[in-house]
């Protein structure tokens, strides 16, 4: 390669580097403090409306990793056999088929998708718990033992990418 051209091209590359060093904003989402706004319909943790469930077992049948087991609970007028889904999130791949194919809209998804646990048993969610999640999604963090890291000193806020002429950055929004 021509050494003069190589030198000039190196300088060009370095100029681009300097441009980024001084002018282009950072695009990092400061994760524990800032959270991303997930769009509606995002496939996160599930919740169940037990009064809508009829125990038809289509969710269990269509689940690819067979994460859903139908368990016996007290029968309700709608659900005469008393079968309700138990979701084992050890298996769940969040494909959303159970929600998609549910004929009675009993299963739904939240935008919570940042669980991590010390103990895998905490990922087995029985129907009562899935019902509780609907009322208070924060219970997921407490149940999985993640409240040890959710400290109040972080003001968790929502952020979304903003495109400027120079680049992209994450700016907090109010939700």
């Amino acid at each position: 390669m021509n050494p003069v051209k190589a030198f000039i091209d190196s300088v060009k590359s370095m100029i681009v580097g300097f441009k980024y060093l001084f002018t282009v904003p950072r695009m990092t989402l400061k994760f524990p403090e800032q959270k991303m706004v997930l769009p509606p319909g995002y496939r996160g943790q599930h919740y169940l409306e037990m009064d809508k469930c009829t125990g038809c077992s289509i969710c269990a049948m269509s689940c690819p990793p067979r994460a859903i087991t139908m368990v016996k609970r007290d029968p309700t007028p709608r659900n005469k056999r008393g079968l309700f889904p138990l979701i084992n999130f050890n298996y769940c791949i969040y494909c959303g088929y159970c929600v998609l194919f549910c004929p009675f809209d009993a299963l739904h998804e939240l935008d919570i998708h940042d669980l991590a646990v010390y103990d895998r048993d905490k990922l087995i969610h029985p129907p009562e718990f899935l019902q509780k999640v609907k009322e208070n999604p924060e219970i997921l963090y407490e149940y999985s033992g993640m409240n040890v890291i959710r400290t109040p000193r972080w003001k968790e806020e929502y952020a979304e990418p903003v495109f400027t002429r120079r680049g992209v950055k994450h700016e907090p929004i109010r939700k």
């Binding site: 390669m1 051209k5 190589a6 030198f7 091209d9 190196s10 060009k12 590359s13 681009v16 580097g17 441009k19 980024y20 695009m27 991303m36 997930l38 769009p39 509606p40 319909g41 995002y42 496939r43 289509i58 049948m61 269509s62 689940c63 690819p64 791949i93 969040y94 494909c95 959303g96 088929y97 998609l100 194919f101 990418p161 495109f163 680049g167 992209v168």
Partner: protein
Amino acid sequence: MEAGRLDQVVEKEIYVSVGPQHSGAGHFRMVLKLDGDIIVDVIPDPGFVHRSVEKIAENMLYVQIVPLVEKVTHVDASNLAMGYVRAVEELSGIQVPERAKYLRTIACELSRITSHLYFFGIFGIFLNHSTMFMWSFGDRDLFLDLTQLLTGTRIAHSYILAGGVRHDMPQDFPDKAMKVLDYFERKLEDYYKIFMLNPVMIERTRGVGVLSREDAIRLGATGPVLRASGVRYDTRKDDPYAAYDKIDFEIPVYKEGDSYARVMVRFREMQESVKIIRQALRDMPEGPVRPKRMVPRWPVKKGEHYARVEAARGELGYYIISDGKAKPYRLKMSSPSFRNLLILKHLLRGETLADMPAIYMSLDYWAPEADR
């Protein structure tokens, strides 16, 4: 080779293991036989991610196989699903609404861009260019934002189902997509300046791992590897699916056949993908995107069928034998990475150890896809 003291080594050649724990090989192992710095022979050792996808598929409903085949190439999920769904639809004659075809095109191209950006990041880090890694993965995340807006999740979309797509795109999708695409087109210029024009990068890749046109055809190369060797072949043009026959785009072809050409083909393909998404968003007709009610059981007729699509890594084929029941009798995948693996051995022989990452990664080998 037995672990012995180096001063007891009398052989001329030494064996160096690359992978699976190695920053130059992910979930793949190859043993290089070195004579000094020259690679005399390569012993690939694939199979670290063999998960018997084809066998598991025989025990699953047709609809459940969509997420299964997506797992094979997570970075390129929609293209994988597209191939499978195409095979099922053509086998049983399921009609797809026009709007769904365009949405499928968008999903496939988003998937291709994210996959190519993944390639650029890993290729950058293989040449120890960490900036390229960070930029590609950062910008890839913006596209993953788009896919999560469109399909509902970042990576394993399961968006393309038989008879249409899962749901229509949200109202604000075109606006957001245009913003990202504008930004990305500007960003690609910087990619070009800092990586493609970088003399050190050119020195490492130009003339390295040259695959001639004849060898490429003889060894069955596919995808960008084939196109970098001067063969104009792309399933999107030659056997169009989704809405590709209504969209105007080019197929980048380079004649050199070296690592640099393979990188450039992917770079140009990303530019073309941006064009395709723009056109698809512009031309998209109104209408339904799926049958009224989604059912977990697909009406698949008895018979057998082979269908192919152009995935990010090359031509991907599915062969389905159906006996008319709820589950397939046999599903066979012909994955591009496996076909490109043969070329690796051909290319590495005679090169130096320092060229190994540049050649290995320029094939964009994705081990789970080859092992299945």
